[in-house]
């Protein structure tokens, strides 16, 4: 089962994303701060990271720098999320950007496009 790491400090948002992604057959991990995310990535190798930029204790960009600097994480697709677009002068090191407030369809589409459908996709409901 593919794993999506959801990084956001907004409780209602992470709860919803976790439920929706699990319904679609993905395993999820949730972190609420930059520090927690970096700790988590020491022992977790997600298939994709949904990464909020405005998080406490290390911003999303700090986490992204760490991901790209870690050999076996460097190729992990990252979907950035924020209320404002990333500054144009930042080097593009993420695979997708989704502007907040989030559209669920946009999140699911980005995840499926980058790592394919979850385990439940295509299963018949009996």
């Amino acid at each position: 089962m593919k794993t999506v790491l959801v990084v956001d400090d907004e409780f209602d948002l992470t709860s919803t994303l976790k439920a929706v992604l699990e319904d679609r057959g993905y395993r999820t991990c949730v972190c609420a701060t930059g520090r927690e995310t970096i700790d988590c990535l020491r022992h977790t190798r997600p298939d994709l990271i949904l990464l909020d930029v405005m998080i406490p204790l290390g911003s999303g960009y700090t986490v992204l720098d760490r991901v790209r600097a870690t050999a076996d994480l460097a190729g992990t697709p990252v979907v950035l999320m924020n209320n404002v677009p990333p500054p144009a002068d930042r080097a593009v090191r993420w695979q997708a950007f989704i502007r907040k407030p989030l559209s669920l369809a946009a999140v699911v589409e980005a995840v499926e496009k980058l790592i394919g459908p979850g385990a439940s996709a295509g299963r018949e409901v009996t």
């Binding site: 400090d9 907004e10 409780f11 209602d12 948002l13 992470t14 609420a32 701060t33 520090r35 930029v53 405005m54 998080i55 406490p56 204790l57 290390g58 911003s59 924020n82 209320n83 404002v84 500054p87 907040k100 407030p101 989030l102």
Partner: protein, 500 residues
């Protein structure tokens, strides 16, 4: 209306020493310089009273000055994305500051999992990372739900305050006002600001009250609050802003004529400059026309004038004036006379006074004239009618200090022969009272004019007949025609049309 939060006297940007200015119109004026660096302040109020807007406006205003970073931490379950979306319609909102100069973080997960101590750890880490000038916590009521008792909340605030004081970060704790909660933590904060939103009759009234402000003086009592596309705008109570007027105006007084020959003679040349006059009369008695004559005569002499009225829009006023040969349009076009019309809708008393006083302060030209038509527009805007005497006193003092000669109309009842001022306090605060009235004789209505009072000045005490004709406003040369009307001995004037 000015955009800045300056005092009417114009404090310099940047604020007093050790202060951080909110940039919220007139909040810094109420706080006499702004918040203290490193201070912790509670902002409390019911939903819809403007707490969140106030906190964000403070952050965006500071971000716009480039004075430092802001951290806005929400303890609410709901996402701050929704809050940011709602802020987009406000003029202070600048998306480029979000996540660059203003960082929004949620403390709810830390509070849920680690309680007050977990939240405090998150806050210390976040403040250490961003080193903000302003830190806002929105939703302090969530802390009360998760913290173990009121004492724990107090300890949290105390510890937070100790930390932010040492880092010089000004902190706002936004809290829903819960009547069942004791708010013991308010004993340790540096200031308490309450926003309220109440119904007074059918009107919804928002107000701001500063209950406590350590280390500084502030304007006490309730102040009107508006929420517009500019965000929060506060209108300090007029009478408390100007509670210490100078003992006297310094200018040499001159007479300000009406351009109505016989009336000016009654006044020994006109109204004393820098004085206030109440012009009383029933509807249709001629108050507006006499007031416009006053402005136009001033303009003719090179003195600027302002009309501030509630009932007649400028085109209608210009048309009415033209009908009786008062060249108002000419002076409006040249800029000598300005017409400020307030549609008779729901206004706020101090907002009206502010608009007018700020207009007056736009220039410091001497010998300006003001015609307020009429005072009942101010009374209708007042939520607390018992404020009117103090309001009028402060308002008139400000006009005097600006060397403005003010003529203020007051409407009297149409169908009552006795004269009963709806605002008796107006007569006390003005130097001069002029009365226009109707007298009915032999099925004809006649207008009379008299000067009822003129403080420290000579005036003619006779009652005169007053007419509005195609040629303008006229006052009879003697008291005889008025006497004839009042005694019922009116007679046909030689060569004139039949008079009663």
């Amino acid at each position: 209306m000015r955009e800045s939060s300056d005092s009417p006297e114009g404090t310099t940007p940047g604020g007093a020493a050790g202060r951080v200015q909110s940039g919220i119109p007139r909040l810094d004026y109420i706080l006499k310089g702004g918040f203290f660096h490193g201070g912790t302040y509670t902002v409390m109020g019911p939903p819809g009273s403007g707490k969140t807007i106030l906190g964000n406006q403070f952050c965006f205003n500071l971000a716009s000055t480039g004075a430092g970073a802001c951290v806005y931490l929400t303890l609410l379950v709901e996402s701050y994305d929704k809050m940011l979306r709602h802020l987009e319609s406000l003029r202070f909102y600048k998306p480029e500051h979000v996540s660059e100069r203003i960082v929004y973080v949620s403390g709810y997960p830390a509070l849920k999992t680690g309680g007050a101590d977990g939240l405090l750890a998150l806050i210390r880490g976040t403040l250490d990372e961003h080193k903000p000038v302003i830190f806002v916590i929105d939703g302090m009521e969530s802390l009360r739900q998760f913290a173990d008792g009121e004492q724990k909340v107090k300890e949290f605030v105390h510890e937070l305050q100790a930390y932010t004081a040492m880092t010089g970060c000004t902190t706002l704790l936004m809290s829903f006002k819960d009547p069942s909660y004791a708010y013991t933590e308010n004993a340790v904060v540096d200031g308490i600001i309450e926003l309220s939103d109440t119904l007074v009759g059918p009107r919804a009234v928002r107000e701001l009250t500063v209950h406590k402000f350590r280390g500084g003086d502030y304007l006490r009592g309730r102040h009107e609050v508006e929420i517009t596309d500019r965000g929060i705008v506060i209108h300090p109570r007029t009478e408390i802003q100007f509670d210490k007027p100078p003992e006297q105006a310094t200018e040499q007084r001159i007479r300000m004529a009406f351009g109505v020959k016989e009336f000016d003679k009654m006044l020994f040349g006109g109204l004393p400059s820098g004085s206030a006059t109440a012009l009383l009369g029933a509807p249709g008695a001629g108050k507006t026309m006499l007031g416009l004559s006053f402005l136009v005569e001033g303009a003719r002499q090179g003195q600027k004038g302002v009309y501030f009225g509630f009932y007649e829009p400028p085109p209608r006023l210009i048309e009415k004036a033209a009908q009786i040969n008062i060249p108002l349009e000419k002076y409006v076009e040249s800029g000598q006379v300005e017409l400020l019309w307030q549609p008779p809708l729901e206004h706020m008393l101090d907002s009206l006074a502010e608009q007018l006083l700020e207009k007056i302060r736009e220039t410091d030209e001497p010998r300006r004239r003001l015609f307020v038509d009429g005072i009942e527009g101010f009374r209708a805007a007042s939520v607390y009618p018992d404020r009117m005497p103090r309001f009028l006193s402060a308002f008139c003092n400000q006009l005097r200090m600006s060397d403005v000669t003010a003529l203020i109309t007051e409407e009297l009842p149409l169908f009552r022969p006795d004269i009963d001022m709806p605002n008796p306090e107006l007569a006390n605060v003005v130097e001069t009272v002029v009365l226009l009235r109707y007298v009915e004789l032999r099925s004809q209505l006649h207008r009379l004019i008299s000067v009822m009072k003129m403080r420290e000045s000579q005036y003619d005490t006779s009652i005169r007949e007053f007419k509005i004709t195609d040629a303008g406003v006229e006052v009879a040369a003697s008291f005889e025609s008025a006497e004839a009307i009042l005694t019922g001995l009116a007679r046909t004037s030689p060569g004139g049309e039949g008079r009663a």
